[in-house]
Amino acid sequence: MYPRPFEYVAPKTLDEALAALDQTEGAKVISGGMSLLGLMKLRLLSPGTLIDIGRIPELDQIEDRDDHIAIGALVTHGMTASHALTTEHATALAQAASWTGDVQVRNRGTTCGSLAHADTAADQPAGAIACGAVMVARSVGGDREIAAADFFVDALTSALEPNEILVELRIPKEGGRSAYDKLGRRGGHSDYAVAGAAAWVRSDNGTVADARIGLTGVGTAPSLAAGATEAIIGSDGSAEAIAAAAERAVEGVTVLEDLYGSEEYKTHLAKVYVARALEQALALARS
């Protein structure tokens, strides 16, 4: 309940924050603090310095930028869940955000913070992967763009370097529709995902022209369900095609057993939720 002592700085600009992060050994960036403070209170993590980016202006916007939308580092789960731009162009991510934590957590926790935390069972990574998000990692040396599918490396490990801040999430406006569905640890959609899948599809004359499927809760990190994605592209999106794609849900994924399910169960759930996410995304695409 009581974090170990640390230094605290609250830069006014992103440049100051990046400089502080670059120069301070063992510093961590805090925005909403929903994930980080929890670990610190259990003394599972004790950074020497916290760099609070919460006071930096203009990071709390979702912007429409012609070919993509941009979600700033301080955009909360609640804003991602309800904003007109996300619900239209990143439905799966918005749905995932709406099932992240509870109201109070969604009020303070940030989408970028959740992604950077890279929990194996978080919702929004699956949405980000399916929506083809690009992560903008910034350091004193400049920007680096990382595809969402490459961003989640391992449990609680993202592709961010220690001196980088995830300043923005960009979702391409490529048409098509997306959806997210999961089984929560407390049942239904509550709490972290035992297993969850997000699917984005773009149909062309009854054929699935393009698709991406993101998985969470199942493996060591949220990931692209490459086999299922490959299977659904070019198909007619029929029930049979969905079932065939779902069968390949965990292709290339190391499924991990945890408190919430055996390897066999999680493998099964991955198939179920790939199918359900695809069904919902295809239904939206047809409507």
Binding site: A10, G33, M34, K41, D52, D102
Partner: protein, 167 residues
């Protein structure tokens, strides 16, 4: 570190270690013990307060992060000696037993009703799922929020359960 903020309309300031959680600043430094601590993982919601009008679990925030903020705690919810409709609802509909989760539950309910004063039951239940109660089974908490919503809409609340029994 020095912090200053407005709590229940009063300007307060003081020195804290950076690691001091907002809830401990409220309870230990300001003596506002109505905000409770029920867990260490941000799951129970007993510490819910409003930070700049937004419901927040005050154990998930550092006091220094609240620099310059306007905080409302359970002690500041009633105004001019009048109970907030949610407080009245919890009393009228037996929405509390031991009362420990109640300040957080009331603050969260007041936030939900400020956003939408006519939520359906499902919306209330999901809106409160970050606040744990071990006494009431939530049954009367939902009734209390419905009562308060009706009051805020200037409507007559539904009759309490105990007048409907016997059917």
């Amino acid at each position: 570190m020095h912090v200053s903020m407005s709590v229940n309309g009063r300007e307060v300031s003081g020195d804290v270690e950076p690691r001091t959680l907002l809830v401990h600043y409220l309870r230990e430094n300001l003596g506002l013990t109505g905000t409770h601590v029920g867990c260490d993982t941000g799951y129970c919601g007993a510490c819910t307060v409003h930070v700049d009008g937004i419901s927040t679990k005050s154990c998930t925030m550092l006091a220094v992060q609240a620099e310059g903020a306007e905080i409302t705690t359970i002690e500041g919810l009633a105004s001019n000696g009048e109970l907030h409709p949610v407080q009245e609802g919890f009393w009228e509909r037996h929405g509390l037993q031991c009362g420990f989760c109640t300040p957080g539950m009331i603050m969260q309910s007041a936030y939900l009703l400020a956003e939408d004063n006519n939520p359906d039951e499902d919306t209330i239940r999901h809106g409160l799922d970050g606040n744990l109660c071990r006494c009431t089974g939530y049954h009367n908490i939902v009734k209390a929020v419905q009562y308060a919503g009706a009051r805020m809409r200037s409507e007559e609340p539904d009759a309490p359960d105990w007048e409907e029994e016997g059917t």
